[in-house]
């Protein structure tokens, strides 16, 4: 279980997180929603300690990840796969090298097997046969899917998805939703996904959490979210410009 406790984070005078609390249970898919710029990506980055909070902490099975030394941190990070919002593929490497990097660096898997795993992971994201292309030759949606293949290459325990369906056509977006569901069902992966896509959120999530003004103001099942009387959540999920949240 991952626990985010009273997380505060400011960048200069920009107070992004102001006491965020969140629990992620083993084997669940939790989706984080909230307006652009509210701190969703910042929260995800704290979970793998790419960012460190000003105060508050994050626990994994009762251990504070801020207490980890470099070696423990590396071991901790190896339990994760992360899909970045901008895919963050390594420009200097081919698709094959990107997806196979962790396997080649962290395991003794024979080269042929690595190649097989890479093409299998590419197949599940619908990108078979592009192993030798460079990221610069891919479209935005293709990069995203290669990023996803890279995130799942090691069959991690935890996957963090930063907007997995943004930039994909609706058919591909739904295929990625199915993939996320399948990873949970078949491999019991614990997932945290950030998304603006409410259709996707309802479909993949066990629970949905909303960030607003630096805090998690609501967390519940998709049904609880739909039926809540919290006006902020209602305005957001309905996508209305009028309401407690000011659009502009």
């Amino acid at each position: 279980m991952i626990e985010v406790v009273d997380l505060h984070k400011a960048f200069g005078s920009n107070n992004v997180l102001k006491g965020a609390n969140l629990k992620i249970e083993k084997g669940e898919t939790l989706t984080i929603i909230g307006r652009s710029g509210v701190g969703k990506s910042v929260l995800l980055k704290h979970i793998v300690r790419l960012l460190e909070p000003d105060s508050g902490y994050i626990q994994i099975d009762g251990e504070n990840i801020l207490d980890f030394d470099r070696k423990q941190l590396m071991a901790y990070r190896r339990r994760f796969g992360m899909l970045f919002q901008g895919a963050a593929l390594f420009d200097s490497m081919t698709v094959d090298e990107n997806v196979g990097l962790s396997l080649r660096e962290h395991t003794n898997t024979p080269e042929e097997e690595v190649k097989e795993i890479v093409s299998e992971k590419l197949r599940v994201v619908g990108m078979k046969g592009i192993e030798n292309l460079k990221p610069a030759e891919l479209s935005g949606g293709m990069k995203k899917r290669v990023g996803l293949a890279r995130a799942i290459s090691m069959n991690p325990e935890f996957i963090l998805y930063d907007e997995p369906t943004t930039g994909l056509d609706p058919i591909m977006a739904d295929a990625i939703n199915d993939l996320i569901i399948r990873l949970r069902e078949e491999l019991n992966v614990t997932s945290i996904a950030v998304t603006h896509d409410m259709t996707s959120a309802y479909k993949i999530s066990d629970r949905i959490a909303m960030i607003y003004e630096g805090e998690i103001i609501f967390a519940g099942t998709p049904d609880e979210v739909k039926n809540t009387d919290n006006p902020v959540v209602q305005q957001f999920i309905r996508g209305e410009a009028e309401g407690p949240i000011k659009a502009v």
Binding site: V48, D54, M74, R77, F84, G86, A88, F90, S102
Partner: protein, 266 residues
Amino acid sequence: MKTHDINRPMERILGMFGGKIIRFFAGIGKVTLLVKSLIFNLPFFIKRRHLVLEQMLFMGVNSLPLVIFTSIFTGAVSAVQAAYQFHNYVPLRYLGTAVGKAVVIELGPVLTGLVVAGRVGAAIAAELGTMKVTEQIDALETMALDPVEFLVMPRYLAGLIMLPVLTVFADVVAILGGLAVSVWFVGVSSYTFLNGFKSFFEMQDLFAGLFKAGVFGSIIAIIGCYQGFITEGGAEGVGESTTRAVVLSSVLILVSDYMIAHLLFG
């Protein structure tokens, strides 16, 4: 790279004396951390030899034409200037000595350093800066791979090795440039010129020059990587880091040149 926030109340008090001073010392602190991590990662050069080799090729191929071109003119101008200063005071048979000493000790390493800072230092800062703003460095970190091992160590070793190599080329070409000017325009024979060069040539001068070149190569790589790592804010930020990398490493090359001269010859 994880860097540590400087203490906040401290920041407010010191803020009165200007953010620049704080950033300067914070910068020194971060560079020190980077160097510490670099030293720790040096033993991985065997495992990463293909990356080191790739960077060495890149530095060499990228810089050699420009280094050669600059060196011809450096040698040529030092011959012209020396001949002018010798005029009626020093016999021209010492022309080769003056050009040789100046090139081997100072001009070869320093100008090679400055040229490489402009080309390679800028390229390092731009590449790593782009990786930083597109979250590729974060991606390495989350994949439990050390950016210092992957990115900094190969560039550092390439700088440390290739700058002296390039300097040897620069020295040879500059002396040939000086020789050409002496023969064609000053009227000193090539025998006299080379004799003047050889009879006062000292191995320790060459080593001093190459030692400097190694220091300059280290400066270029470390400053380029550091500026890349601290890049923020998209393409504009990458542009700023690139400029800062070139300016800062050029200044540090000249300052360290003086300090080394003081140590070795002072």
